[in-house]
């Protein structure tokens, strides 16, 4: 187990190298840079800009820039955000906290609700409940997250029930920690709700499919012949094996959830990684973009690793091999 985690984490290193290299190339290929915009401003003396270029090594060839970034990154220094005038690491840390809070809340809510709805609908496949849930899922899956987020934003602003934008009220620094936590939850509610609504039908469909597959298995005949009730068969014998594809699906949908989270963050103004990435891209803030891309891929890979580790919990027959 420990060795497996270690091996997987080691396999991350070449991947991250590749990711950072590709990202760096992309940023380098992009026309215009942060300092080009400064040059357009007649109020900034050229000597200041030249000093900035020399200080951040922007005049050196691209491979030297990449290598110096890499050396810094290995030592825990992800560079300096020109647009925000703060270290990238600090910016990323804050944003990652918000994105993870959003992702995990939505993940737990939609996985739980999806599984429960799945259970309810396989009690009688093609029954009234099943039809209603499947119709709902198919309709909701088709509504893009973007549209959902805009509708949520509009509703929230029209009814003024939930706060919009930011992760806390402006006066949060003066609050004690319980009030601060409540305030945080209050702000989290809207984006988390939107993300949950967007992902819940996916989990529902997956859970339903998994359960139906298990329900036709032969070991359930044995269970039934022992006189177990249908409820027991459903909850004690079918649910656990059906979780295997569901967990695998969670791992596979990590990038999809990050995509949705980006859109929701941008629309609702949740200060997470997606919003930071867009701001960085629009400002051509190269170190920030690089940091966000690398951190994003770390999240995806870690998400996959965690789901892989969870699989044997749902089905002890699964043995993880050190690939």
């Amino acid at each position: 187990m420990f060795r497996l985690v270690l091996a997987r984490l080691l396999a991350l290193i070449p991947l991250l190298l590749g990711v950072s290299f590709v990202s760096f190339l992309l940023i380098h290929l992009a026309p215009g840079s942060f300092v080009d915009r400064l040059r357009l401003d007649p109020g900034i003396p050229p000597s200041t800009i030249e000093a900035l270029v020399v200080r951040f090594g922007l005049d050196r060839p691209w491979y030297e820039q990449y290598l110096s970034w890499l050396t810094g990154a290995v030592h825990g220094d992800l560079g300096w955000s020109l647009a925000f005038r703060r270290p990238v690491g600090e910016l990323l840390g804050g944003a990652a906290f918000y994105t993870l809070a959003l992702l995990l809340t939505a993940l737990v809510v939609s996985a739980l609700v999806g599984t429960v709805l799945g259970l309810l609908s396989v009690v009688r496949p093609r029954g009234a409940l099943d039809r209603v849930f499947c119709g709902w899922a198919l309709a909701t899956v088709s509504v893009p997250t973007l549209v959902l987020a805009l509708a949520g934003l509009g509703l929230a602003s029209a009814t003024a029930v939930l706060p919009i934008g930011g992760g806390s009220v402006t006066a949060a620094v003066d609050l004690n920690w319980t009030a601060r936590a409540t305030d945080f939850m209050h702000h989290l509610l809207l984006p988390a709700l939107i993300l949950s609504i967007a992902t819940c039908p996916l989990f529902f469909l997956q859970a339903r499919g998994g359960l139906l597959d298990v329900l036709s298995a032969e070991f359930l005949w044995a269970a039934r012949s022992r006189g177990l009730s249908e409820t027991q068969i459903l909850l004690r014998h079918s649910l656990r094996p059906s979780l295997v594809p569901l967990i695998a699906f969670v791992g596979a949908s990590m990038t999809r959830m990050l995509n949705s989270a980006l859109l929701i963050e941008v629309v609702v103004g949740w200060p997470g990684m997606g919003r930071l990435a867009l701001q960085g891209l629009l400002a051509r803030d190269s170190f920030l973009i690089l940091g966000v891309l690398v951190l994003g891929s770390i999240l995806v890979v870690l998400g996959n690793l965690v789901t892989d580790l969870l699989l044997p919990v749902a089905d002890p027959r699964i043995r993880l091999e050190e690939a």
Binding site: L15, L138, I289
Partner: protein, 316 residues
């Protein structure tokens, strides 16, 4: 049903100048944010009407200007803009799907048949792309090109940025399919009958991956529809004054205090996008059912099958 919806979308997109009552850029400076309305007194609807430039439209109005789906913040007809927006979506979707599926299939097949180093390099490459969160990567790719570009180029760049990420999944799936097909008996018999590698691939392996490629095409379709809208929404795709569903949503969402008062500016492009994706999803579900998947979402909506398929239904 899904296919019918998609065909309708394509027709509307291609024939936008005919179906739209007004030009997508024509502004009515007396009517910003007009709610949807139907022709009232002193106003008649003309079918196949000619406008002042002599172009024929499906319908027009005489003696008044009526906006069936309202007008936006600049007094432009929302219906006309949505119809023109369908054009952009259809172009992006068709170009994107064709490119992604064919390129993905080529790479997948090359990896499977080339084997060895080829296989490893190509598959590591796809792993790398897939490890990055897709939308972040698309944004970074989009960033390589200038922000403001002509509409013709913009759709190409848009599709290109999306496709760079999209082909990986397809190529991995195709690789798996080709690897499993290659071991089947009919391939061995073709080889035994003296068929060369090219003939084996094009005559025996490729046709067998076709149903699977159709499914992949269906799966990438919503990706491009949504991707186009997303990029345009973020201001990185089709720019104003050209109409696209994404930038219509963006301009509708500019002021969220008044968003709900002018709900039609949001609901119409949002609804159009949702319907298009629904059409694609229905098509995918249909394909899946035809290919023998039993538990798709649609299976619950169809007529009940004969009892006995579901083992536990026999219990009574």
């Amino acid at each position: 049903m899904g296919v019918a919806g998609l065909v309708l979308l394509a027709t509307v997109g291609v024939g936008a100048p005919f179906f739209a009552p007004y030009s997508p850029r024509a502004q009515d400076r007396t009517g910003f944010h007009r709610p949807p309305s139907l022709p009232g007194e002193g106003c008649s609807t003309r079918w196949l009407a000619r406008d002042e430039r002599g172009d024929t439209h499906l319908f027009g109005f005489e003696g008044c200007r009526v906006y069936v789906l309202g007008t936006d913040a600049l007094g432009r007809d929302v219906l006309s803009r949505v119809l023109y927006g369908a054009r952009v979506s259809v172009t992006a979707a068709v170009l994107g799907v064709v490119f992604t599926v064919s390129f993905g299939a080529l790479v997948g097949a090359a990896a499977a048949l080339g084997g060895g180093v080829w296989d490893r390099v190509l598959m590591r490459g796809t792993e790398l792309v897939m490890a990055l969160p897709a939308l972040y990567l698309v944004l970074a790719f989009r960033n390589v090109f200038p922000d403001e570009i002509t509409p013709g180029w913009s759709s190409l760049i848009l599709v290109g940025s999306l496709a760079v990420v999209g082909w990986c999944g397809v190529s991995r799936m195709v690789r798996g399919q080709v690897l499993s097909l290659r071991e089947r008996d009919f391939v061995a018999s073709a080889v035994a009958a003296g068929a060369g590698p090219a003939r084996v691939f094009f005559r025996h392996i490729l046709p067998n991956t076709l149903p699977f490629l159709w499914l992949q095409a269906g799966l990438t379709l919503p990706y491009f529809l949504l991707g186009e809208a997303t990029l345009s929404f973020l201001g990185l795709g089709v720019q104003e004054p050209h109409a696209s569903w994404g930038n219509m949503l963006a301009s509708a969402a500019q002021s969220y205090t008044s968003m709900m008062q002018h709900w039609w500016t949001l609901a119409v492009p949002g609804g159009a996008l949702s319907l298009a994706v629904l059409g694609a999803n229905l098509w995918i579900e249909g394909l899946r059912m035809a290919q023998g998947s039993r538990w798709g979402a649609l299976s619950a909506l169809g007529p009940p099958r004969s009892p006995g398929i579901l083992a536990f239904k026999d219990r009574t």
